[in-house]
Symmetry: C2
Amino acid sequence: MDKREKIITTAMNLFSQKGFEGTSVREIASAAGVNIAMINYYFVSKEKLFESVVEYKTSATRTMFAELDSNTALSPIEKVDKIIDRYVERMFAAPKFSHLLHRELSLSHRPKLHHAITEILLQNIFTIKTFLQKNIEKGVFKKVDTELTVCTIIGTISNILVSEEMCRKMLRKNKDFNPYQSKKLKERISEHLKQLMRSHLLKTNKTFKQ
Amino acid sequence: MDKREKIITTAMNLFSQKGFEGTSVREIASAAGVNIAMINYYFVSKEKLFESVVEYKTSATRTMFAELDSNTALSPIEKVDKIIDRYVERMFAAPKFSHLLHRELSLSHRPKLHHAITEILLQNIFTIKTFLQKNIEKGVFKKVDTELTVCTIIGTISNILVSEEMCRKMLRKNKDFNPYQSKKLKERISEHLKQLMRSHLLKTNKTFKQ
DNA sequence: TGAAATTAAACAAACGTTTAATTAATTTTT
DNA sequence: AAAAATTAATTAAACGTTTGTTTAATTTCA
Protein backbone atom coordinates (compact mmCIF):
# COMPACT_ATOMS: atom_id res chain seq x y z
CA MET A 1 0.00 0.00 0.00
CA ASP A 2 1.41 3.40 -0.93
CA LYS A 3 1.67 6.21 1.60
CA ARG A 4 -1.31 8.14 0.29
CA GLU A 5 -3.59 5.17 0.73
CA LYS A 6 -2.05 4.33 4.08
CA ILE A 7 -2.86 7.82 5.32
CA ILE A 8 -6.46 7.53 4.11
CA THR A 9 -7.16 4.19 5.76
CA THR A 10 -5.47 5.26 8.98
CA ALA A 11 -7.41 8.53 9.03
CA MET A 12 -10.64 6.63 8.39
CA ASN A 13 -10.08 4.43 11.41
CA LEU A 14 -9.16 7.30 13.70
CA PHE A 15 -11.94 9.62 12.51
CA SER A 16 -14.37 6.73 12.97
CA GLN A 17 -13.25 6.10 16.51
CA LYS A 18 -12.70 9.63 17.77
CA GLY A 19 -14.46 11.97 15.38
CA PHE A 20 -13.02 14.67 13.16
CA GLU A 21 -12.12 17.23 15.81
CA GLY A 22 -11.12 14.49 18.23
CA THR A 23 -8.39 13.24 15.93
CA SER A 24 -5.21 15.26 15.45
CA VAL A 25 -3.11 15.38 12.31
CA ARG A 26 -0.08 14.33 14.37
CA GLU A 27 -1.97 11.25 15.54
CA ILE A 28 -2.83 10.24 11.99
CA ALA A 29 0.73 10.78 10.82
CA SER A 30 2.15 8.79 13.70
CA ALA A 31 -0.28 5.88 13.26
CA ALA A 32 0.30 5.79 9.52
CA GLY A 33 4.08 5.93 10.03
CA VAL A 34 4.61 9.05 7.93
CA ASN A 35 5.97 12.50 8.60
CA ILE A 36 3.31 15.00 9.64
CA ALA A 37 4.09 17.29 6.71
CA MET A 38 3.17 14.49 4.28
CA ILE A 39 -0.48 14.90 5.13
CA ASN A 40 -0.62 18.51 4.02
CA TYR A 41 1.64 17.63 1.11
CA TYR A 42 -0.79 15.04 -0.22
CA PHE A 43 -4.14 16.38 1.00
CA VAL A 44 -3.58 20.16 1.45
CA SER A 45 -5.55 20.31 4.71
CA LYS A 46 -7.15 18.17 7.40
CA GLU A 47 -10.61 18.95 6.07
CA LYS A 48 -9.67 17.96 2.52
CA LEU A 49 -8.25 14.74 3.93
CA PHE A 50 -11.63 14.04 5.49
CA GLU A 51 -13.33 14.56 2.13
CA SER A 52 -10.87 12.19 0.51
CA VAL A 53 -11.66 9.56 3.16
CA VAL A 54 -15.38 9.82 2.44
CA GLU A 55 -14.87 9.66 -1.31
CA TYR A 56 -12.49 6.69 -1.01
CA LYS A 57 -14.86 4.69 1.15
CA THR A 58 -18.14 5.31 -0.66
CA SER A 59 -17.00 5.03 -4.26
CA ALA A 60 -16.78 1.25 -4.04
CA THR A 61 -20.34 0.68 -2.82
CA ARG A 62 -22.01 3.44 -4.78
CA THR A 63 -23.39 1.29 -7.55
CA MET A 64 -24.60 -1.50 -5.29
CA PHE A 65 -28.25 -0.50 -5.01
CA ALA A 66 -28.52 0.52 -8.62
CA GLU A 67 -27.27 -2.90 -9.76
CA LEU A 68 -29.71 -4.61 -7.47
CA ASP A 69 -32.52 -2.48 -8.83
CA SER A 70 -31.88 -3.58 -12.40
CA ASN A 71 -32.01 -7.27 -11.50
CA THR A 72 -35.35 -8.42 -12.94
CA ALA A 73 -35.14 -12.09 -11.99
CA LEU A 74 -36.58 -11.49 -8.54
CA SER A 75 -40.12 -10.84 -7.33
CA PRO A 76 -40.78 -7.47 -5.67
CA ILE A 77 -40.78 -8.82 -2.12
CA GLU A 78 -37.68 -10.89 -2.84
CA LYS A 79 -36.01 -7.69 -3.94
CA VAL A 80 -36.95 -6.07 -0.66
CA ASP A 81 -35.32 -9.02 1.08
CA LYS A 82 -32.18 -8.55 -0.99
CA ILE A 83 -32.09 -4.82 -0.30
CA ILE A 84 -32.28 -5.56 3.42
CA ASP A 85 -29.58 -8.23 3.22
CA ARG A 86 -27.21 -6.00 1.28
CA TYR A 87 -27.73 -3.01 3.51
CA VAL A 88 -27.21 -5.03 6.68
CA GLU A 89 -24.10 -6.55 5.11
CA ARG A 90 -22.74 -3.15 4.20
CA MET A 91 -23.31 -1.67 7.65
CA PHE A 92 -21.73 -4.62 9.42
CA ALA A 93 -18.70 -4.47 7.15
CA ALA A 94 -17.82 -0.96 8.34
CA PRO A 95 -20.07 0.10 11.22
CA LYS A 96 -17.71 2.76 12.53
CA PHE A 97 -17.53 4.41 9.17
CA SER A 98 -21.32 4.57 9.04
CA HIS A 99 -21.25 6.31 12.39
CA LEU A 100 -18.70 8.74 11.04
CA LEU A 101 -21.09 9.69 8.25
CA HIS A 102 -24.08 10.04 10.56
CA ARG A 103 -22.08 12.02 13.09
CA GLU A 104 -20.89 14.46 10.48
CA LEU A 105 -24.40 14.64 9.09
CA SER A 106 -25.80 15.71 12.44
CA LEU A 107 -23.29 18.56 12.70
CA SER A 108 -23.83 21.78 10.84
CA HIS A 109 -20.56 23.67 11.03
CA ARG A 110 -18.76 22.10 8.08
CA PRO A 111 -21.32 22.72 5.32
CA LYS A 112 -19.20 21.44 2.47
CA LEU A 113 -18.69 18.02 3.96
CA HIS A 114 -22.26 17.92 5.17
CA HIS A 115 -23.48 18.50 1.65
CA ALA A 116 -21.19 15.87 0.16
CA ILE A 117 -22.40 13.18 2.57
CA THR A 118 -26.02 14.13 2.00
CA GLU A 119 -25.68 13.59 -1.74
CA ILE A 120 -24.00 10.22 -1.27
CA LEU A 121 -26.68 8.86 1.06
CA LEU A 122 -29.55 10.28 -0.98
CA GLN A 123 -28.63 8.15 -3.97
CA ASN A 124 -29.29 4.96 -2.03
CA ILE A 125 -32.47 6.31 -0.47
CA PHE A 126 -34.00 7.36 -3.78
CA THR A 127 -33.20 4.07 -5.44
CA ILE A 128 -35.13 2.15 -2.79
CA LYS A 129 -37.91 4.71 -2.61
CA THR A 130 -38.51 4.62 -6.37
CA PHE A 131 -38.59 0.84 -6.29
CA LEU A 132 -41.27 0.86 -3.59
CA GLN A 133 -43.33 3.48 -5.44
CA LYS A 134 -43.33 1.53 -8.68
CA ASN A 135 -44.69 -1.55 -6.94
CA ILE A 136 -47.35 0.44 -5.13
CA GLU A 137 -48.51 1.82 -8.49
CA LYS A 138 -48.58 -1.69 -9.86
CA GLY A 139 -50.78 -2.69 -6.93
CA VAL A 140 -48.26 -5.19 -5.60
CA PHE A 141 -47.50 -3.31 -2.35
CA LYS A 142 -49.83 -1.50 0.05
CA LYS A 143 -50.03 2.29 -0.14
CA VAL A 144 -47.43 3.00 2.51
CA ASP A 145 -45.31 6.10 3.15
CA THR A 146 -42.36 5.15 0.92
CA GLU A 147 -39.95 7.79 2.18
CA LEU A 148 -40.47 6.94 5.81
CA THR A 149 -40.35 3.23 5.04
CA VAL A 150 -36.82 3.69 3.71
CA CYS A 151 -36.02 5.61 6.91
CA THR A 152 -37.30 2.69 8.94
CA ILE A 153 -35.01 0.19 7.23
CA ILE A 154 -31.91 2.37 7.40
CA GLY A 155 -32.74 3.79 10.83
CA THR A 156 -33.27 0.41 12.45
CA ILE A 157 -29.89 -0.90 11.37
CA SER A 158 -27.88 2.20 12.18
CA ASN A 159 -29.62 2.51 15.52
CA ILE A 160 -28.65 -0.98 16.63
CA LEU A 161 -25.04 -0.54 15.58
CA VAL A 162 -24.56 2.91 17.08
CA SER A 163 -22.57 1.56 20.03
CA GLU A 164 -21.13 -1.84 20.92
CA GLU A 165 -21.75 -1.39 24.63
CA MET A 166 -25.31 -0.20 24.05
CA CYS A 167 -26.00 -3.12 21.72
CA ARG A 168 -24.67 -5.65 24.20
CA LYS A 169 -26.72 -4.27 27.05
CA MET A 170 -29.87 -3.89 25.00
CA LEU A 171 -29.69 -7.49 23.84
CA ARG A 172 -28.66 -8.62 27.34
CA LYS A 173 -25.40 -10.18 26.13
CA ASN A 174 -22.25 -10.60 28.21
CA LYS A 175 -18.99 -8.76 27.75
CA ASP A 176 -17.35 -11.12 25.27
CA PHE A 177 -20.18 -10.75 22.78
CA ASN A 178 -18.94 -8.69 19.86
CA PRO A 179 -21.96 -7.21 18.01
CA TYR A 180 -20.03 -6.04 14.97
CA GLN A 181 -18.58 -9.53 14.39
CA SER A 182 -21.70 -11.53 15.17
CA LYS A 183 -23.09 -13.39 12.19
CA LYS A 184 -26.09 -14.34 14.30
CA LEU A 185 -26.98 -10.74 15.05
CA LYS A 186 -26.62 -9.85 11.38
CA GLU A 187 -29.09 -12.57 10.45
CA ARG A 188 -31.39 -11.64 13.29
CA ILE A 189 -31.61 -8.04 12.09
CA SER A 190 -32.23 -9.19 8.53
CA GLU A 191 -34.98 -11.51 9.71
CA HIS A 192 -36.64 -8.82 11.79
CA LEU A 193 -36.65 -6.32 8.95
CA LYS A 194 -37.87 -8.80 6.37
CA GLN A 195 -40.73 -9.85 8.61
CA LEU A 196 -41.52 -6.21 9.38
CA MET A 197 -41.52 -5.26 5.69
CA ARG A 198 -43.66 -8.20 4.64
CA SER A 199 -46.46 -7.30 7.03
CA HIS A 200 -45.96 -3.65 6.14
CA LEU A 201 -45.91 -3.97 2.36
CA LEU A 202 -47.82 -7.07 1.34
CA LYS A 203 -51.57 -6.86 0.89
CA THR A 204 -52.32 -10.56 1.43
CA ASN A 205 -51.89 -11.95 4.88
CA LYS A 206 -48.75 -13.93 4.18
CA THR A 207 -46.83 -14.12 7.42
CA PHE A 208 -43.15 -14.77 7.20
CA LYS A 209 -41.50 -17.52 9.23
CA GLN A 210 -43.76 -17.10 12.22
CA MET B 1 -31.94 32.45 34.99
CA ASP B 2 -28.79 32.25 37.12
CA LYS B 3 -25.36 32.03 35.57
CA ARG B 4 -24.90 28.34 36.23
CA GLU B 5 -28.06 27.49 34.33
CA LYS B 6 -27.23 29.98 31.60
CA ILE B 7 -23.90 28.23 31.06
CA ILE B 8 -25.60 24.83 30.86
CA THR B 9 -28.22 25.85 28.31
CA THR B 10 -25.68 27.73 26.22
CA ALA B 11 -23.28 24.78 26.30
CA MET B 12 -26.12 22.44 25.31
CA ASN B 13 -26.90 24.49 22.23
CA LEU B 14 -23.28 24.78 21.16
CA PHE B 15 -22.42 21.13 21.85
CA SER B 16 -25.53 20.15 19.90
CA GLN B 17 -24.55 22.25 16.91
CA LYS B 18 -20.81 21.70 16.81
CA GLY B 19 -20.05 18.67 18.94
CA PHE B 20 -17.98 18.42 22.09
CA GLU B 21 -14.53 18.88 20.60
CA GLY B 22 -15.85 21.40 18.10
CA THR B 23 -16.98 23.76 20.83
CA SER B 24 -14.42 25.74 22.83
CA VAL B 25 -14.82 26.85 26.42
CA ARG B 26 -14.22 30.44 25.34
CA GLU B 27 -17.08 30.15 22.89
CA ILE B 28 -19.45 28.92 25.57
CA ALA B 29 -18.37 31.65 27.98
CA SER B 30 -18.75 34.34 25.36
CA ALA B 31 -22.19 33.14 24.22
CA ALA B 32 -23.39 32.82 27.80
CA GLY B 33 -22.03 36.26 28.63
CA VAL B 34 -19.81 35.11 31.47
CA ASN B 35 -16.11 35.19 32.17
CA ILE B 36 -14.26 32.12 30.94
CA ALA B 37 -13.01 31.27 34.42
CA MET B 38 -16.59 30.93 35.65
CA ILE B 39 -16.98 27.69 33.74
CA ASN B 40 -14.16 25.95 35.58
CA TYR B 41 -15.29 27.64 38.78
CA TYR B 42 -18.75 26.08 38.55
CA PHE B 43 -18.09 22.86 36.61
CA VAL B 44 -14.40 22.05 37.30
CA SER B 45 -13.71 20.99 33.69
CA LYS B 46 -15.15 21.01 30.19
CA GLU B 47 -15.89 17.29 30.38
CA LYS B 48 -17.71 17.67 33.70
CA LEU B 49 -19.72 20.47 32.12
CA PHE B 50 -20.78 18.08 29.38
CA GLU B 51 -21.94 15.56 31.96
CA SER B 52 -23.90 18.27 33.72
CA VAL B 53 -25.57 19.18 30.42
CA VAL B 54 -26.65 15.58 29.84
CA GLU B 55 -27.93 15.19 33.38
CA TYR B 56 -29.81 18.50 33.21
CA LYS B 57 -31.54 17.64 29.95
CA THR B 58 -32.55 14.05 30.60
CA SER B 59 -33.71 14.31 34.19
CA ALA B 60 -36.96 15.98 33.14
CA THR B 61 -38.08 13.32 30.66
CA ARG B 62 -36.76 10.30 32.54
CA THR B 63 -40.03 9.25 34.10
CA MET B 64 -42.10 9.77 30.97
CA PHE B 65 -42.17 6.20 29.68
CA ALA B 66 -42.56 4.71 33.13
CA GLU B 67 -45.63 6.86 33.77
CA LEU B 68 -47.10 5.88 30.44
CA ASP B 69 -46.48 2.23 31.22
CA SER B 70 -48.48 2.37 34.45
CA ASN B 71 -51.51 3.87 32.72
CA THR B 72 -54.01 1.00 32.59
CA ALA B 73 -56.90 2.82 30.93
CA LEU B 74 -55.59 2.11 27.42
CA SER B 75 -55.61 -1.04 25.27
CA PRO B 76 -52.21 -2.51 24.33
CA ILE B 77 -52.19 -1.15 20.78
CA GLU B 78 -53.42 2.22 22.00
CA LYS B 79 -50.46 2.26 24.35
CA VAL B 80 -48.14 1.57 21.43
CA ASP B 81 -49.71 4.58 19.70
CA LYS B 82 -49.10 6.71 22.77
CA ILE B 83 -45.49 5.53 23.07
CA ILE B 84 -44.93 6.53 19.46
CA ASP B 85 -46.60 9.92 19.93
CA ARG B 86 -44.60 10.71 23.04
CA TYR B 87 -41.30 9.64 21.55
CA VAL B 88 -41.86 11.63 18.37
CA GLU B 89 -42.86 14.60 20.51
CA ARG B 90 -39.73 14.32 22.61
CA MET B 91 -37.40 14.06 19.63
CA PHE B 92 -38.99 17.02 17.87
CA ALA B 93 -38.75 19.14 21.01
CA ALA B 94 -34.95 18.88 21.06
CA PRO B 95 -33.67 17.15 17.92
CA LYS B 96 -30.17 18.56 18.16
CA PHE B 97 -29.79 17.31 21.68
CA SER B 98 -30.79 13.83 20.56
CA HIS B 99 -28.07 14.01 17.94
CA LEU B 100 -25.62 15.06 20.60
CA LEU B 101 -26.41 11.91 22.56
CA HIS B 102 -26.18 9.65 19.53
CA ARG B 103 -22.97 11.27 18.38
CA GLU B 104 -21.35 10.80 21.74
CA LEU B 105 -22.67 7.25 21.85
CA SER B 106 -20.96 6.39 18.58
CA LEU B 107 -17.60 7.60 19.87
CA SER B 108 -15.49 5.46 22.13
CA HIS B 109 -12.80 7.74 23.53
CA ARG B 110 -14.73 9.24 26.47
CA PRO B 111 -15.84 6.05 28.22
CA LYS B 112 -17.34 7.76 31.26
CA LEU B 113 -19.75 9.86 29.26
CA HIS B 114 -20.46 6.99 26.91
CA HIS B 115 -21.50 4.84 29.83
CA ALA B 116 -23.71 7.54 31.34
CA ILE B 117 -25.64 8.05 28.09
CA THR B 118 -26.04 4.31 27.59
CA GLU B 119 -27.69 3.94 30.98
CA ILE B 120 -30.05 6.83 30.32
CA LEU B 121 -31.26 5.49 26.96
CA LEU B 122 -31.51 1.90 28.17
CA GLN B 123 -34.17 2.82 30.70
CA ASN B 124 -36.55 3.90 27.94
CA ILE B 125 -35.73 0.92 25.76
CA PHE B 126 -36.36 -1.63 28.48
CA THR B 127 -39.65 -0.06 29.50
CA ILE B 128 -41.01 -0.42 25.96
CA LYS B 129 -39.47 -3.86 25.45
CA THR B 130 -41.00 -5.24 28.63
CA PHE B 131 -44.38 -3.86 27.64
CA LEU B 132 -44.20 -5.62 24.27
CA GLN B 133 -43.09 -8.89 25.86
CA LYS B 134 -45.96 -8.91 28.33
CA ASN B 135 -48.49 -8.54 25.55
CA ILE B 136 -46.87 -11.25 23.47
CA GLU B 137 -47.11 -13.62 26.44
CA LYS B 138 -50.76 -12.67 26.83
CA GLY B 139 -51.26 -13.55 23.17
CA VAL B 140 -52.31 -10.03 22.22
CA PHE B 141 -49.29 -9.31 19.99
CA LYS B 142 -47.53 -11.52 17.45
CA LYS B 143 -44.25 -13.18 18.45
CA VAL B 144 -41.95 -10.47 17.12
CA ASP B 145 -38.37 -9.60 18.00
CA THR B 146 -39.14 -7.16 20.81
CA GLU B 147 -35.67 -5.70 21.14
CA LEU B 148 -35.32 -4.96 17.46
CA THR B 149 -38.86 -3.63 17.31
CA VAL B 150 -37.88 -0.96 19.84
CA CYS B 151 -34.84 -0.23 17.67
CA THR B 152 -37.12 0.24 14.69
CA ILE B 153 -39.27 2.82 16.45
CA ILE B 154 -36.37 4.80 17.87
CA GLY B 155 -34.17 4.33 14.80
CA THR B 156 -36.79 5.54 12.34
CA ILE B 157 -37.35 8.80 14.19
CA SER B 158 -33.73 9.60 14.88
CA ASN B 159 -32.80 8.72 11.30
CA ILE B 160 -35.26 11.19 9.80
CA LEU B 161 -34.19 13.99 12.10
CA VAL B 162 -30.45 13.46 11.73
CA SER B 163 -30.06 16.45 9.41
CA GLU B 164 -32.38 19.24 8.28
CA GLU B 165 -30.90 19.41 4.80
CA MET B 166 -31.07 15.63 4.40
CA CYS B 167 -34.66 15.57 5.58
CA ARG B 168 -35.69 18.31 3.18
CA LYS B 169 -34.07 16.63 0.21
CA MET B 170 -35.34 13.18 1.09
CA LEU B 171 -38.91 14.44 1.34
CA ARG B 172 -38.44 16.62 -1.75
CA LYS B 173 -39.28 19.82 0.11
CA ASN B 174 -38.01 23.29 -0.79
CA LYS B 175 -35.59 25.42 1.18
CA ASP B 176 -38.08 27.18 3.44
CA PHE B 177 -39.45 23.92 4.80
CA ASN B 178 -38.24 23.54 8.36
CA PRO B 179 -38.43 19.85 9.36
CA TYR B 180 -37.88 20.41 13.07
CA GLN B 181 -40.76 22.89 13.26
CA SER B 182 -43.17 21.05 11.00
CA LYS B 183 -46.26 19.80 12.80
CA LYS B 184 -47.27 18.00 9.62
CA LEU B 185 -44.05 16.00 9.50
CA LYS B 186 -44.40 15.12 13.15
CA GLU B 187 -47.86 13.73 12.50
CA ARG B 188 -46.72 11.99 9.35
CA ILE B 189 -43.98 10.14 11.22
CA SER B 190 -46.40 9.17 13.97
CA GLU B 191 -48.87 7.88 11.39
CA HIS B 192 -46.23 5.87 9.57
CA LEU B 193 -44.97 4.23 12.75
CA LYS B 194 -48.44 3.47 14.06
CA GLN B 195 -49.43 1.85 10.79
CA LEU B 196 -46.14 -0.06 10.71
CA MET B 197 -46.55 -1.30 14.27
CA ARG B 198 -50.17 -2.34 13.78
CA SER B 199 -49.35 -4.62 10.89
CA HIS B 200 -46.24 -5.78 12.71
CA LEU B 201 -47.81 -6.51 16.11
CA LEU B 202 -51.48 -7.29 15.62
CA LYS B 203 -52.54 -10.82 14.79
CA THR B 204 -55.87 -9.95 13.17
CA ASN B 205 -55.81 -8.18 9.84
CA LYS B 206 -56.91 -4.78 11.12
CA THR B 207 -55.44 -2.21 8.79
CA PHE B 208 -55.03 1.28 10.10
CA LYS B 209 -56.33 4.29 8.18
CA GLN B 210 -55.58 2.87 4.79
C1' DT C 1 -15.38 40.73 58.38
C1' DG C 2 -15.53 36.74 55.69
C1' DA C 3 -17.08 33.87 52.22
C1' DA C 4 -18.64 33.68 47.47
C1' DA C 5 -18.53 35.49 42.94
C1' DT C 6 -16.13 37.63 39.23
C1' DT C 7 -12.35 39.34 36.64
C1' DA C 8 -8.09 39.99 33.50
C1' DA C 9 -4.07 37.91 32.65
C1' DA C 10 -1.09 34.28 32.08
C1' DC C 11 -0.08 29.17 31.84
C1' DA C 12 1.77 25.24 29.33
C1' DA C 13 0.31 22.15 25.95
C1' DA C 14 -1.63 20.97 21.63
C1' DC C 15 -3.39 22.37 17.42
C1' DG C 16 -3.11 22.67 11.92
C1' DT C 17 0.04 24.37 8.83
C1' DT C 18 4.39 26.03 6.63
C1' DT C 19 9.17 26.51 5.83
C1' DA C 20 13.48 25.43 3.99
C1' DA C 21 16.75 21.87 3.41
C1' DT C 22 17.69 17.17 1.86
C1' DT C 23 17.10 12.85 -0.36
C1' DA C 24 14.99 9.94 -4.03
C1' DA C 25 13.18 9.31 -8.40
C1' DT C 26 12.44 10.67 -13.03
C1' DT C 27 13.36 13.03 -17.28
C1' DT C 28 16.34 15.36 -20.48
C1' DT C 29 20.56 16.13 -22.60
C1' DT C 30 24.95 14.77 -24.12
C1' DA D 1 24.59 4.60 -21.41
C1' DA D 2 26.32 8.23 -18.42
C1' DA D 3 25.80 12.73 -16.76
C1' DA D 4 23.19 16.55 -15.82
C1' DA D 5 18.91 18.81 -14.87
C1' DT D 6 14.44 18.61 -13.10
C1' DT D 7 10.77 17.11 -10.49
C1' DA D 8 8.82 14.58 -6.59
C1' DA D 9 9.05 12.81 -1.99
C1' DT D 10 10.51 13.28 2.66
C1' DT D 11 12.27 15.36 6.77
C1' DA D 12 12.99 18.15 11.24
C1' DA D 13 11.99 22.29 12.98
C1' DA D 14 9.43 26.15 13.70
C1' DC D 15 5.25 29.00 12.71
C1' DG D 16 1.39 31.56 14.87
C1' DT D 17 -3.09 30.21 17.02
C1' DT D 18 -6.00 28.17 19.90
C1' DT D 19 -6.86 25.01 23.37
C1' DG D 20 -8.43 23.97 28.54
C1' DT D 21 -7.07 25.46 32.85
C1' DT D 22 -5.16 28.26 36.71
C1' DT D 23 -3.61 32.12 39.21
C1' DA D 24 -4.02 36.00 42.02
C1' DA D 25 -6.32 40.19 42.58
C1' DT D 26 -10.71 42.41 43.01
C1' DT D 27 -15.58 43.05 43.62
C1' DT D 28 -20.07 41.68 45.56
C1' DC D 29 -22.99 40.42 48.96
C1' DA D 30 -24.47 38.66 53.39
